[in-house]
Symmetry: D2
Subunit: 333 residues, 4 copies
């Protein structure tokens, strides 16, 4: 059994890692940290996990976690860098779910407007695009939720370098805002609402740019995120203005070929968030209008958009089938 | 024009008073307080009210508010008592939307487990039941949201002293929890949920007991509140175990007679919260089973359950038609 | 009093007309039709309107409705043309809420792929843009819900002829789909969902094109609609790619100047659907990114997007202040 | 491998059986019927199951299904009786998810007001209460969703014969109404709503009565169901009026003892529907007030309330551990 540790086990991504790893046949979770809940059983914080863990939360000490084979860091942005470099000096493989290692140092400092004091090189863990590097990686930076849905929607066309411009208009469930209550997550503020935020300046833009420019250097990207009244899911409309005259059928062939062998990419006539809920699948629908193509992707933000993709990456890092422990159907309706 | 002041203008009941008074033909709002937002225009806190007020929030000073004809205190429980006694010593009529003056001093101290240091006598402002006293009142204690729906559902049967037992199972929209974010109001905690709370010991029980025992001294009352995923509305199922053999038709006649002339009480075949949304109506449906009667009432918790009833009481206190400024249809769908 | 008739009084737009006209000081509703519910009281179909109307539904006979001063046709697309031409031959002013008269005959036949057999000329009733023509109109074609939000978001920039391209990504509440149950409106299919539909070929595109090309002939427009889990509201993100280097402040000035004197246009720092719910307001927020401007508009699809704008147009047609009967605050939260 | 067939594979319970059996290590689904979708692949009807089945829907012919080891009948009430008696004459074990075999013939005819023309004896499949009989059963009648939550909430107290009266006030997600669109399931009718229905006369009452009277003959039961705006879950408040003076702690001990060894019964401080979502767990919270005990149970209506319990029963019938294929965590948030 592979021994797994989770630094930051009380948030939504930590809880989701626990949910998923409870099903994984090759993994034993041996340590889960929380400063605040130290000494408490896991189900006192995550009542839905009662019956699945007998562990208690521990302090996030590197000497404890360095006895694991793999450690997931599921702490807020800016905090992961307190653990990752030290863990990387041990034999542990590390998968960081924060934003701290997703960007090049330069882009990080541009996006965050400050120096990165604990930078180390990581592999960007968008599994379908970087499987080869992930296989050998010691540190994987797990992608952001919006970039996962957006990059996978546009990559096949960017690879052909035929994208004149792409506008990503994304809608996320509220679990993306984390487990701590704020004005933004206050129920009456979300009821019967679609709330755009960081309309032209969300930091996930930098991940999209970094990854898609690897395919097509002159691609032009626009991105607007918003939340919708639901708990899980990100739906991304990629409005793609193309060079050239591809028909809908040709587009579909391009996507099918690009994602050949990718178990978690499914093409649907009409995607629905509820068709991927709780699962690691990325459902994609392709439409061609007179003026543009629209590629719509649907993911569960906590699974493929966070903890599921982290497990998928772990599978790849340990030479397992990428779908080990993740091969279960979504929860519809 | 009657000059109205609002002490506590930033919460949901304050905002709702502003919404309703904007429509009232006999009222001019002359002062609205907020310590925190002092000096700001009303629409900076309530963007939906842009175009309706040019006022700025002021400090809650009694000498300012004593120039009004009527003052609504819409501050949290325990805070109203800082203003009410002093206001009562002026010529101003006062309508308190907090819980501070709803109970007799004894019941208050039992319910809250502490001495009431600023007690004054108030009229309990359930308009349909106490219109005569409200007409002459200087201080009206506006009822709680749950008690409004529950008491109105059971009063006609209690008056006949035929209730063996009544179980109120009530469901409230989340605006009832106020405008401040908490764990309880965090979106993902409410999504696809019905959340019971204070299952056997909610303080609103005391209001129900106080009012219904006036009709039938030996009535036995049970109450469980819960929230549902919506913003507005309280639906109350009153499961009533009756002495005697009344048929459904007889029950309906009893209710129609009891509420004769009450404009805001409407009988519906099947109530729906959306049929009262945004309005001061109380919709009631009556069902008779083999074992019990079920009386279901639907109100908007912020209107008839708070600010609307406060305006209705004000109308009565000033000799206006009780429906002045409140006679508009609900918002369906 | 102006005598108003409604042909098609049982759907959501018919019900909303009844809600709004109940508040209108200059209007008396004298006839409401429904073939199916003929002879029934209005509140049997619209229980929320109990207390507001004593009328019964009648057959949609033109000789009855020709005694009105104004008739609203609120029947499905394709059906309005059975009444409109005949009504236009009487003295009645007509406001058609269907799609039958919004487009030029040519565009209609292109959009619908068939001949229009009952064409008459109408004024396109986007009140803020065509007030002068509406004032003299005998037949007003009330705009579609999506076009209302989209056109108002882009018109000030189109007027300057500086729009290279605009992508409208719109989200509508489910009441837009009408009162009849379908797969599309089945609750579990909408729960926790954002559902795009007619992704590249919705007919409302033609209205946007027709109106915006009047301002800027070479504008390029893309449009994708979707529904979100809520009942009311349309939020439109207009991603606008501009010629030239306008700053956010300059954009705001352009909009404020363009909509000067337009009571129902409000600029908000951050729009929310709940800030316009139930009202005729159009709230607009303006953002400038490095790559594009994003103009976000929020309307209530049944009010400004349908029945409210119809009443606003009626006010203009009869020489009343455009806000008569519509000057009430939105319902938040 | 056990060969399983599903008669009625297109509805929500059929889809949920397919979801659950895809995870079951001892089961192979060999036949799934649908008259209407005959010849189509399963994922054309259930897009969320793409990747999990390569089967096509077939006609519901008994000679095909009699080759299975177990057949689940997941057709509407009244239709199961067309297949069950004939299947019972073969070697197949049958689990019927409809209401056709849950009641004694007498009670069935009382509840449904007509003769049962295809009656056979079945074991009532509330697994925790009837495991011994289920083990030997050839036909299991899978319980209704409301009765599952209600009976499990009250059984431990009924067994002690100390229940004077119990009022079940239950709230169900909309998936309980099935996959076919109706007025009742139309989104705007459910939005921001709690909708009681069959307030005093729901047929599930008879199951509750039949089962609880086995424990305590003189128990008095009341039941009111309603739907809430969510897709999955049933929350049942059991307001129990007790004989005797039991404290909260004593109640908790009674429940823990009664359900000792029952893996799927979990006690939580405060149940939440989201803590059981997608899983076979029954979460129970216990509260003691001055007047009554309140026992609150939470289940997923499609899992423990239907297809999950059917699989649990199948496990028992085939001598497997009852949690085989069902031992996965709920989906929170």
């Amino acid at each position: 059994m592979i021994k797994a540790g989770i630094i930051g086990g009380t948030g939504y991504t930590g809880g989701e890692l626990l949910r998923l790893l409870a099903l994984h046949p090759e993994i034993e979770v041996t340590a889960v940290s929380s400063r605040k809940e130290k000494g408490k059983k896991i189900h006192t914080v995550h009542p839905h996990l009662r019956r699945f863990y007998d562990l208690e939360f521990v302090e996030p000490k590197v000497d404890v976690f360095s006895e694991c084979d793999v450690v997931f860091t599921a702490v807020p942005h800016g905090e992961a860098m307190r653990y990752v470099p030290e863990l990387c000096r041990t034999d542990v493989k590390v998968i960081d779910l924060s934003a701290d290692y997703r960007l090049s140092r330069e882009k990080y400092e541009e996006a965050y407007g400050k120096e990165h004091r604990a930078y180390v090189e990581a592999v960007y863990g968008l599994t379908e695009l970087h499987k080869r590097e992930i296989r050998k990686a010691k540190l994987v930076a797990n992608p952001g939720c919006y970039p996962t849905g957006a990059i996978l929607a546009a990559a096949p066309l960017a690879e052909l370098e035929i994208v004149e411009r792409v506008v990503f208009d994304s809608k996320s469930g509220m679990s993306g805002a984390g487990a701590a209550p704020t004005e933004f997550t206050h129920y009456p503020n979300l009821h019967e609402a679609i709330v755009p935020y960081r309309v032209t300046n969300h930091r996930h833009y930098y991940e999209m740019e970094q990854e898609l420019k690897k395919f097509q250097y002159d691609i032009r990207i626009s991105f607007t995120p918003q939340v919708f009244p639901g708990s899980r899911g990100i739906l991304t409309n990629a409005h793609v203005f193309l060079r050239g005259e591809l028909e809908e059928n040709e587009l579909k062939e391009i996507y099918e070929k690009f994602y050949e062998g990718c178990y978690f990419i499914r093409f649907q006539e009409n995607v629905r968030l509820s068709y991927v809920r709780g699962s690691n699948f990325v459902d994609i629908s392709i439409y061609r209008g007179d003026d543009r193509a629209v590629i719509i992707s649907a993911i569960d933000n906590l699974v493929k958009g966070a903890s599921g993709q982290a497990v998928q990456n772990m599978n790849v890092m340990f030479g397992l089938d990428e779908k080990t422990g993740l091969d279960f159907p979504p929860l519809f309706p």
